[in-house]
């Protein structure tokens, strides 16, 4: 086969005939169009008239061109052109299909699998043994050679991993025998790729399949100067690119939401981009991960651990009177130690408690008022940490002298002691090494840390448990007491350098870190990690979804220092004793670089090119051109009039505008159907059974409305969110299935426009039998995912005086097939108040845009073609009663949709009171 570019010809010699085209041009040009013979009595008047201008009797050039094109199309068509001619892949012997299967290929995973499938087909024809190997997830023993058909069945089970191959070279070096390798590459270079290539080449020839694609990845966010810096990287570095980074976290009610979104711009040629994200600390601490919007891979997700969490620390000192003496201020060293890593807040204790800080530091504060003490006590029990420092005031006071003060870990002896001073014997004391069970265990103690004064703890049976740091002579330096969820910690020295040199040393900062007062660095150093075990709580799969990691074994702390994710250290969140560690695919230093394959390696695209014979198309084109030529010749010869012209115009219209016209007509038909009568709509979920029940349900409701009310709806219509206009429907019923896909952004825009424009969507998770509202049924989670981008107002369960309870029937229950009270509507305004003598409040001035519940209303409403119920509800007569109430609720909903707050008007009060029997 001879080919030009992607087109090959089966009979290329026929193309020689193209050379005859110029000849045809000359021939065709010389022959004028045949004259029309026309009977015309007026010819007597024409006799003697000659054509005034010399009219060319030749065919016009465009007509000639048309004919030439027709002939050329015919010649080329008969030459048998084939698009993408496939040369059968040669090769025999064993074949290894090696797939990188890293996160970088996750977004195009299906195309890779398709390519593998087509390679397997070719191998099946060539009768070769094949082993399909994911390099990031290697088989345990020898290469699993099998028949290609076996592998076809196993392909759907192949999934990419969220890490890059790291031990493949050892594995392949151990393999014996010759094999050919097809390498499906993700296009991102990794350290051992070159060695791996050498190993493959040693075993046989290598063909690489990869498609250049743009890969975006987000780096771990860092905290700098009061703002979060989010960074992203990409490959290849090409034209400028705008994208968005979204911060996702839990909202106060525990629902995952987009907390913030920042645009980020890659300049032309730049591989990295970063942008600050300014967030209030409350919001910032909620962030659990950053994502690049729209990218679907583990690299586009960056989990956050404690590194980003900034603790709020409230500082209160006993005396602020000595203005100007900053270095003597009890809080000076604390501020210095904490301000880089924590958010410090000042104020009075009662104000600070309202802010609910993580830590309250009382520096030399002896007594609190009783109310304050109670509030602080409650705050500690709820998880707060009270950090106290001793000082002259504490030493002088009677606090915790005889009985244990709830806000002090130990009882104190009066006065304290002083050693190594001018008026005392002895040397200043140094610190004893920390115990194993102390949170400070492992911290190196500098020699120059000495304590010259301290408050002393009263010996007590519980004292030994509460000491977490002590001096060389065994007197407690730091004591701790656990209270409820929280703790009280006392440093027996001052927070300034008056009593000890501790605040001057680095140890002080480290101790604060260990106590989780200040925020720690992202990766703890090796010494800190040594001997610890971290349990994975969440892992990130290659597609960027979080999975439960509790089934995985714990990871030794030393592994974290290498920080390269692998199958042993899967990306995700790891729980330590008192903190979390995030392992991300992309670190701050990761460089994404495209692979440059050596010249000798064949690199093919991933796209499966299909052979397309173009003969038929070209011959059709030739016929079409000839048809056009017929019309054009008629037009040129002046014969295109009367019925012929009509036919020609019709033909032309058909040729040119058929599809658009068709689409337009369909849209018009849809619009007419939806608008000529009231029509209830349901959103098509893609699940045939759900859609059928939704349609039958709305049909049943429509029939009920028709019979009982003045609303006479037509048959319900299923609405495709992507293609159909929503504005025609006053009401959409949206059953949730766990398998439905998220709407596109256009569809979201349409939905939000619909909700703002007064439409109502009734979300039905259909799971009220198995799940309470908000609990984690698959449908509920899908609803949360779908509703995340919707413009939904604050919700509340239907209050008993909501207009839905009386828009047609008087109802207090809203059952469907299930009878759950958890039905939510737009929350009433805060200032809605009940007026004396009125049975209901003056509520929302409008229609609630959503009704959310799980009662599977459509199933209760559903009727079949005979008008009898499709599905059973409850048991016996009570079930039928429930179905009746369900229908009544449906009637109320539609009435509410169509009449708004009409029944909210106070004018109905007397009638309603009468009917309520009040």
């Amino acid at each position: 086969m001879w080919s030009i570019g992607p087109i090959g010809f089966t009979a290329p010699w026929l193309l020689v005939a193209l050379g005859a085209l110029p000849l045809l041009w000359v021939l065709l040009r010389a022959v004028p169009p045949a004259p029309i013979r026309r009977r015309f009595p007026g010819v007597a008047l024409l006799l003697g008239l000659t054509d005034d201008e010399s009219q060319s009797d030749r065919t016009p050039w465009w007509l000639l061109l048309l004919r030439m094109l027709a002939v050329a199309a015919m010649i080329i068509g008969f030459a048998g052109p084939v698009l993408n001619p496939q040369t059968a892949r040669e090769g025999r012997g064993d074949l290894v299909i090696a797939i990188d299967a890293t996160w970088a290929g996750a977004s195009g995973w299906q195309s890779q699998i398709d390519r593998v499938s087509s390679l397997l087909n070719e191998a099946a024809i060539a009768d070769r043994r094949v082993a399909v190997v994911a390099l990031s997830n290697l088989p345990d023993d020898a290469l699993p050679f099998a028949a290609p058909a076996d592998w076809q069945n196993r392909l759907p089970n192949l999934h990419p991993s969220a890490w890059q191959p790291s031990s493949a070279i050892d594995y392949f070096a151990a393999q014996q025998g010759q094999f050919e390798t097809y390498w499906i590459s993700d296009g991102i270079d990794y350290p051992e790729r070159a060695d791996l290539l050498a190993a493959f080449e040693a075993a046989g020839s290598v063909t690489v399949f990869q498609t250049p694609r743009s890969i975006l990845a987000v780096r771990p966010a860092r905290y700098e100067d009061g703002q979060v810096i989010v960074a992203a990287t990409r490959t290849p570095t090409g034209a400028a690119l705008d994208t968005q980074i979204t911060a996702i976290g839990l909202d106060p009610s525990g629902v995952e939401r987009q907390l913030a979104t920042v645009p980020i711009r890659f300049e032309t040629g730049a591989a990295d981009a970063e942008t600050p994200m300014i967030l209030p600390p409350e919001l910032r601490n909620r962030i659990t991960r950053f994502e690049i919007s729209g990218a679907r891979s583990a690299g586009a997700v960056s989990l956050t651990d404690d590194a980003l969490k900034r603790r709020e620390v409230a500082l209160i000192a006993g005396s602020d009177s000595r203005e100007g003496l900053e270095l003597l201020s009890p809080l000076y060293y604390l501020r210095e130690a904490l301000s880089p890593t924590a958010d410090l807040i000042d104020g009075t204790l009662s104000d600070l408690l309202l802010a609910n800080p993580d830590v309250i530091i009382l520096a030399d504060v002896a007594t609190l008022s009783e109310a304050e003490a109670d509030a602080v006590d409650d705050w500690i029990a709820a998880g707060g940490m009270l950090l106290r420092f001793a000082g002259p005031r504490l030493a002088a006071s009677d606090t915790g002298r005889n009985t244990e003060d709830p806000l002090l870990p130990v009882r104190l002896r009066s006065g304290g002691r002083t050693v190594g001073g001018a008026m005392s014997w002895g040397e200043p004391k140094s610190l004893a090494p920390f115990d194993n069970d102390s949170p400070f265990f492992g911290l190196a103690i500098p020699d120059d840390v000495t304590v010259s004064s301290q408050v002393m703890a009263q010996p007590d049976p519980t004292l030994a448990d509460r000491v977490i740091a002590q001096l060389a002579d065994g007197t407690p330096l730091v004591t701790r007491k656990l209270v409820g969820e929280g703790q009280v910690v006392l440093f027996h020295v001052t927070a300034n350098a008056e009593w000890s040199t501790l605040p001057l040393s680095g140890l002080f900062v480290q101790m604060l870190e260990r106590l989780a007062v200040s925020t720690r660095p992202a990766i703890p150093d090796l010494t800190e990690l040594a001997g610890t075990t971290w349990l994975p709580s969440k892992t990130l799969d290659a597609y960027g979804n979080l999975q439960d990691g509790s089934a995985l074994p714990g990871v030794a702390g030393e592994v974290f220092s290498t920080a390269m994710p692998s199958s042993d250290l899967q990306p995700g969140l790891y729980m330590g004793e008192d903190r979390q560690l995030a392992v991300n695919v992309i670190s701050a230093e990761t460089v994404l670089s495209p692979i440059s394959w050596p010249q000798r390696i064949t690199v093919e695209g991933l796209t499966v090119l299909r052979e397309t014979a173009m003969k038929g198309w070209l011959l059709s084109l030739a016929v079409l051109l000839m048809l056009v030529d017929v019309i054009a010749s008629l037009a040129v010869g002046g014969r295109l009039r009367g019925p012929r012209a009509d036919v020609a115009a019709l033909l032309g219209l058909l040729l040119l505008s058929a599809p658009e016209a068709q689409a337009q007509v369909e849209a018009d038909v849809f619009a007419l159907q939806a608008t000529s009568q009231v029509v209830l709509g349901h959103v098509l979920t893609g699940d045939p059974q759900t859609d059928e029940i939704a349609e039958a349900g709305l049909l049943g409701l429509s029939q009920t409305l028709f019979r009982r009310t003045s609303i006479e709806p037509a048959a319900p219509i299923g609405v495709d969110l992507e293609t159909d206009e929503l504005a025609f429907f006053p009401f959409l019923y949206w059953p949730m299935t766990s398998s439905q896909s998220l709407p596109s952004s256009e569809a979201y825009a349409k939905l939000n426009r619909y909700l703002r424009g007064g439409g109502m969507i009734m979300f039905d998770t259909r799971d009220a039998d198995t799940a309470g509202f908000g609990s984690g049924s698959p449908e509920g989670r899908k609803l949360q995912a779908i509703a995340r981008s919707l413009d939904i107002p604050a919700l509340e369960p239907i209050p008993s005086d909501h207009v839905l309870t009386r828009s047609f029937y008087l109802l207090q229950n809203f059952p469907g097939r299930y009878n759950s009270r958890d039905v939510w509507v737009e929350a009433a305004p805060i200032d809605a108040a009940q007026v004396e003598g009125m049975p209901f409040r003056n509520l929302n001035d409008g229609v609630t845009p959503v009704i959310i519940g799980g009662n599977d209303w459509a199933a209760a409403w559903a009727v079949n073609a005979n008008g009898t119920p499709m599905l059973p509800v409850g048991r016996g007569m009570s079930g039928e009663r429930q179905r009746e109430i369900a229908l009544r609720f449906g009637v109320n909903v539609i009435m509410h949709v169509l009449t708004g707050n009409y029944k909210s008007d106070q004018v109905h009060v007397p009638d309603l009171l009468d009917r309520l029997g009040q």
Binding site: P32, I36, R37, R38, L45, L46, L49, E53, G637, G638
Partner: protein
């Protein structure tokens, strides 16, 4: 080919709404055939004119005994002198008249219908109608109309028809219906001869709308209805202006001829209703 009966039925239908046409009889002393046109003097006729004293020459049976019985003298009842007009028709039956375009009727169908309709009207008004060229001498009666319809349904095989003045009685009336696209000299001769005999009348030119518009484009060979005359052009559209000019000249010539000979001239298109043309013919023959 129109059956005579159909043609007559069409023509009767067209003539039905018209009042009886009483064509003026003017200076027709020589054509002393009686008609229904009173001459305001005693003579042969049906209508009462006057009683006069009987003369000795009057035959006894002419005495009006009823009137005479009321006096002593004998009276004779005179009738009003009544004469009839004779009108000769010429309807072009040549091949050129068979032309038709779109949904319009052929010119010859329209021309025959108009001719026969005016003949029926005149007949109803008591005139004598006939065809030129000694084919059908003027006579009265339904039989004459039937005969006329039959003759009109014949077709000539010439391209263009030419009228002749044969058979026109002096001071009678004539109606010529044709497209007048052929040789105009025959028309001229006929009109001049007719004028010499004191014959007056109407020229009605029946044209197809296409002949009036010439809506042709492209390379065309025009040929006459029999194919005897041909004209080829490469660009028919370019001829339009000059054709229309010639047609206008032809009409002018005919109108001028009509003026000089005291005739009436009008053009009628087959696209228009036939009644307008019939009305015009009616008025034209009514004129003194």
């Amino acid at each position: 080919m129109t059956a005579p009966l159909n043609l007559r039925a069409d023509a009767e239908g067209l003539a039905a709404p018209m009042p009886a046409l009483l064509a003026e009889a003017e200076h027709l002393a020589n054509t002393v055939l009686l008609g229904e046109h009173g001459r305001r003097r005693a003579g042969t006729g049906d209508a009462f004119w006057q009683y006069r004293p009987a003369q000795p020459t009057d035959p006894a049976r002419s005495i009006d005994w009823r009137r005479s019985a009321r006096s002593d003298a004998n009276f004779v009842q005179d009738k009003e002198w009544q004469i009839a007009q004779s009108i000769l028709l010429w309807v072009d039956q040549s091949a050129a008249m068979e032309f038709q375009s779109n949904e319009n009727p052929t010119k010859s169908r329209r021309a025959r219908m108009l001719g026969l309709a005016i003949a029926i009207l005149l007949n109803r008004g008591g005139e004598r109608v006939g065809l030129t060229g000694l084919r059908l001498p003027p006579r009265r009666g339904d039989g004459q109309i039937m005969q006329m319809a039959q003759i009109l349904c014949q077709e000539a095989n010439t391209d263009y028809g030419s009228p002749n003045s044969q058979g026109m009685l002096p001071h009678s009336r004539a109606v010529l219906i044709s497209d007048f696209l052929g040789d105009i000299s025959a028309v001229e001769d006929t009109l001049l001869e007719a004028a010499e005999r004191g014959v007056r009348g109407a020229l009605l030119q029946v044209l197809d709308p296409q002949e009036e518009e010439f809506p042709f484009e492209g390379r065309t060979v025009f040929h006459s209805m029999t194919g005897a005359i041909e004209h080829e052009t490469l660009r028919a559209g370019g001829l339009k202006q000059r054709y229309l000019q010639r047609l206008a000249e032809r009409k002018d010539r005919l109108a001028q001829l009509a003026r000089t000979t005291g005739w009436q001239f009008q053009t009628h298109h087959t696209g228009q209703p036939a009644t307008t043309a019939l009305l015009w013919l009616y008025r034209a023959l009514e004129r003194r």
